[in-house]
């Protein structure tokens, strides 16, 4: 480009100098003037070309700048992507079942489960918040030892039965209850930092404290409420494992043993025994009845035989027979129709 321009400048300079020379010699040449004109036109074209060139160059520069800017953006983006990827990879994944099968469940199931476990995973609000009971309410009254809002744990196996302890919760701080500090010998008081305790906050005597003990549950459903995040000892002791232990203690192998079934069998056996007794009694009564009837029949036969004899013996024995007959007729009154039937039968015979 530069060379091309230089050439055009040279040409116009040459044309000008020739023109000047011609003018100086006072010998104007038409040819030189035309040459100068042509050179001028050529130079103008060259300058225009230069302008275009410069514009193009500027455009190129601008484009380069844009490219580099975009390049930077791309690089930034790439690096941030890489960083993000690194961070994502650095997140510890759940160690167990990373690619395990997904288990389908419905919202209803989830809610049902949540409702089922809620009483075991979260204490009722009144039990922990202590509501008004634990609010700072300065008073001269001493705190009631049996705070109704408390968490109570069972005494351990190794301790004496009296060493239960209470945990009463004031806001967020767990404090050992009065019973606990007096009776629990070990870590209860250690692990409940006394430094976190708010200054003594004896609760103001409320209606609940003034009321007799047996009326307290009526105004506070959470009276004596306790919360345990695990099954308590009495629950364990009243469970199926304990029942099996009792069976084992009695020398029964629990395998294949079903108390309900056993009880049913026992009941059936008792029923069968009762039925047998009933049957035996009925049979006995039946036998007695038959024996009695037999005896009565024999007595009647004997009496009839005597009457027959008496009729044949004469009047001298009538009195005694009559007396006997009266005596014999007495039981006859108890035999009712039976005697007549027998008589009829006899007559038929």
């Amino acid at each position: 480009m530069d060379k091309d321009l230089d050439r055009r400048f040279d040409r116009i300079e040459k044309a000008i100098s020739q023109m000047i020379d011609a003018l100086a010699k006072n010998h104007p040449s038409e040819k030189a003037a035309e040459e100068l004109l042509a050179a001028d036109v050529e130079l103008t074209e060259g300058l225009k070309l230069l302008e275009t060139h410069q514009n193009n160059n500027a455009r190129i520069q601008q484009l380069r700048q844009e490219t580099s800017l975009l390049d930077t953006q791309i690089r930034d983006m790439a690096s941030s992507l890489w960083n993000m990827r690194k961070e994502l990879k650095a997140i510890p994944t759940t160690p167990r079942y990373p690619n395990g099968t997904k288990h389908q469940f419905t919202t209803a199931e989830l809610l049902a489960y949540a409702r089922r476990i809620s009483r075991n995973t979260l204490p009722p609000p009144g039990v922990t918040n202590g509501v008004d009971m634990s609010a700072p309410q300065p008073s001269t009254q001493p705190p009631e030892p049996e705070d109704s809002f408390r968490l109570q744990t069972q005494p351990t196996q190794t301790q004496t039965p009296g060493t239960s302890f209470n945990l009463s919760f004031n806001g967020t701080v767990g404090t050992p209850g009065p019973m606990g500090s007096a009776l629990t010998p070990n870590t209860t008081t250690d692990t409940q930092p006394a430094t976190q305790l708010p200054p003594s906050q004896p609760p103001k005597p409320t209606t609940e404290e003034i009321l007799p003990l047996h009326l307290k549950p009526t105004i506070n459903p959470l009276h004596d409420a306790s919360f345990h995040p695990w099954p308590t000892e009495d629950k364990i002791r009243s469970g199926g494992l304990a029942a099996i232990q009792r069976l084992v203690d009695r020398g029964i192998d629990p395998r294949g043993h079903d108390p309900a079934e056993e009880e049913r069998k026992l009941r059936e056996a008792e029923q069968a025994k009762r039925d047998a007794e009933e049957r035996a009694r009925q049979e006995r009564e039946e036998a007695e009845r038959r024996m009695r009837e037999e005896r009565e029949r024999m007595a009647r036969e004997r009496e009839r035989a005597r009457q027959m004899e008496g009729a044949g013996a004469g009047l001298d024995r009538r009195d005694s027979v009559a007396a006997f007959g009266r005596a014999a007729q007495k039981p006859k009154q108890f035999t009712f129709l039976g005697a007549d039937d027998d008589d009829d039968d006899d007559e038929d015979d």
């Binding site: 489960y113 995973t121 767990g174 692990t191 364990i236 084992v248 029964i252 309900a260």
Partner: protein, 129 residues
């Protein structure tokens, strides 16, 4: 329970079937294996019970340890949803797989600390969230 012969081979290898429609085979003193193992795995949540088991030398019995390993099926569906004390039961079951914990829980101090911590956690976990 302690009178029964315990050997590593005596424990069942397959988890019991999940009862359907409340009906289950009641073969052990009127209870099914499912019911008893569910009850046991939840009882393990009680630190005092663990302390009791440790004091009766159960936790050092290889057969019992194998049984504890077997009980881990409660950490998986479909058994998981039957736990009504899921937090403590699962944590204790996890801890019980460690030999050190099985040895340490015989300490009354640790038992008491676990009781206190367990209570505190149960009360405070939702506050943090």
């Amino acid at each position: 329970m302690e009178s029964g012969p315990m050997s590593v081979d005596s424990s069942a290898l397959e988890p019991p079937p999940v009862p359907e429609n409340g009906a289950s085979e009641q073969t052990h003193g009127g209870y099914s294996r499912f019911e008893l193992e569910l009850e046991f795995v939840q009882s393990l949540a009680n630190p005092q019970y663990l302390n009791y088991l440790a004091s009766r030398k159960f936790l050092t019995n290889p057969a019992f340890v194998a049984y504890l390993a077997y009980l881990q099926y409660w950490t998986r569906p479909p058994y998981l949803k039957y736990l009504t004390f899921p937090t403590a039961s699962l944590k204790m079951l996890e801890l019980l797989q460690q030999e050190k914990f099985r040895q340490d829980i015989i300490s009354p101090d640790l038992t008491m600390a676990m009781i206190v911590e367990g209570m505190k956690t149960a009360v405070e976990w939702h506050r943090e969230g």
